[in-house]
């Protein structure tokens, strides 16, 4: 669980930035922005899931 998550997010980040540069160099600025946004949304969903898991655990542990 631990190292996989870090590598996944890092891989998504690197791929998104490479695609961004390729698309903006070949002139398609809007598609570049769209891929950046899509990558951001994907990573945000993964992180939000993990953070909600963490907050559930904190809630049960600290007797909220």
């Amino acid at each position: 669980m631990e190292i996989d998550l870090v590598f996944k997010i890092a891989a998504v980040g690197i791929i998104v930035s490479i695609l961004n540069q390729v698309l903006s160099r070949s002139g398609r600025e809007e598609q570049a922005t769209m891929t950046t946004l899509a990558g951001l949304v994907v990573v945000l969903m993964i992180v939000a899931q993990k953070i909600s898991e963490l907050f559930d655990l904190v809630k049960t542990l600290f007797r909220f």
Partner: protein, 131 residues
């Protein structure tokens, strides 16, 4: 011991990757830092479960009010999460968010401990009244 070393190495690896991603896309770097903080907190919270069950055992043998234990645990939880979220916000350049979160957390902690403080005040009044 393996888990401890894994956590340290994941943190250092993530720092390097975040420095790399900062040049290209600062947004995903910020998300990665949030994810790593969340993961490390998850690992520590899982170990905290056994520590807190030991604390409840202690409190049972000492005969303390269980309400006090609950309030203390809530306060510790609020403090830890608030400090970490504040640091994450100021790491990504929003120092004002961090400060606002800290103020909010102190107000919440005071609000949680109000019943304790009230019963302490009543105890004081009783003692002073008897004098």
């Amino acid at each position: 011991m393996t888990q401890i070393l894994q956590v340290f190495s994941v943190a250092m690896l993530a720092t390097v990757i975040i420095t790399l991603l900062n040049k290209q896309s600062k947004d995903i770097a910020a998300l990665l830092s949030i994810a790593v903080v969340g993961m490390i907190l998850l690992c520590s919270v899982r170990t905290m479960q056994s520590i807190i069950s030991f604390l409840t055992e202690l409190e049972k043998t000492a005969g303390l009010d269980p309400e006090m234990m609950k309030i203390m645990l809530k306060i510790v939880g609020i403090a830890i999460t608030a400090q970490l979220s504040a640091l994450i916000c100021s790491d990504n350049g929003n120092g004002a968010f961090g400060k606002a979160i800290q103020i909010y957390a102190s107000v919440m902690i005071l609000w949680q401990s109000l019943p304790l403080l009230r019963s302490f005040l009543e105890l004081l009044q009783k003692i002073l009244g008897e004098i």
